[in-house]
Subunit: 157 residues, 2 copies
DNA sequence: ATTGTTAATGGATGTCATTTTCATTTACTC
DNA sequence: GAGTAAATGAAAATGACATCCATTAACAAT
């Protein structure tokens, strides 16, 4: 299965002067199809299945390129390794933020209240840009706490 | 100079069943007086000056305790090491969020719009708690972009 | 299609923040 | 003051990620 936004990614990368390599295409496809928040090694393993010439080093380098061009987001959910997620979601999924369980590490995507959040962020960005002469490129919102499972285990203990 | 919130910290730690040790006190004092966002090694160096028996391992362990009890916040600003900040600010400083420059790594504290942000966060938290059965303990908001210096350098280039 | 240029690559190796291990010490209880 | 379990420091291990460098592949110009 070929992912639909591949041409978008290719076009954007070319626009930045980057070459389209087999490894980069494979990585982009894995990210486009991913349902979870993948680590560099996760991506390496998935790409390796269909393109065993891939090297972990190139995965890191490609991810850096994709993040720097804004095609991919990089997150720290506190488990000691970076996690990656395609920016323009598969099948036009909406922008979302995250709930992070500090008990088990589970990460929940949410898009509830996202419009209010984005409206406030926009307003805040405008104010902060002016006051601090700071150009805002993007934002990060995460909530930390305990998921249903960990909440229960806690009470049980 | 002894910091004012020291007794608060001591009381809270004891409440969690932790012992008050010389190292922990020294670390708490450094954090209480800090004006920047310190790394574990930064803290180690500062503590070492007045308490050379301290070990870096204990700094890490104490920070873990302080973070888990909510006395200290742990941040990832993207420079490859964790940064720490006392939760109840020196001299009752207000809760704040961060602007992170991806050019030079500078981190700016801001409290502008914080009330609107916190109001929305509270509302969002209520909705998310119910929908996902998730107990929210705290939140993270950061803006990424270019500070005034890096903006200029970029144009110059 | 062939060639030339240079970005991109993979594997080996290095780095460095953080964790683990373990014998010793210290904070707190009685 | 003695008992005990938590806390500690130093050394060693871990692991994510970066760097190095000789080789390869993408792409543009023939
Ligand atoms: Mn997500
Ligand atoms: Mn701060
Ligand atoms: Zn959980
Ligand atoms: Zn900057």
């Amino acid at each position: 299965m070929k992912s639909r936004q591949e041409p978008l990614l290719r076009g954007k990368l070319k626009g930045y002067g980057y070459r389209i390599t087999q490894g980069r295409e494979a990585i982009m496809n894995v990210l486009a199809d991913a349902k979870e928040h993948l680590s560099a090694e996760d991506i390496y393993i998935k790409v390796y299945a269909s393109y065993p010439a891939i090297g972990l080093t190139s995965v890191y380098r490609t991810l850096e390129v994709l993040v720097s061009t804004g095609l991919v987001y990089k997150f720290d959910f506190g488990d000691g390794r970076a996690r990656y997620e395609i920016a323009e979601g598969r099948r036009g999924e909406a922008h979302h933020h995250h709930l992070v369980c500090t008990g088990c590490g589970r990460v929940i995507d949410y898009a509830d209240f996202i419009n209010e959040e984005l409206a406030l962020l926009k307003k805040t960005e405008a104010g902060l840009s002016k006051k601090y002469n700071f150009t805002i490129i993007n934002h990060l919102i995460q909530f930390y706490g305990f998921c249903s499972k960990c909440k229960t285990n806690k009470n049980a203990k």
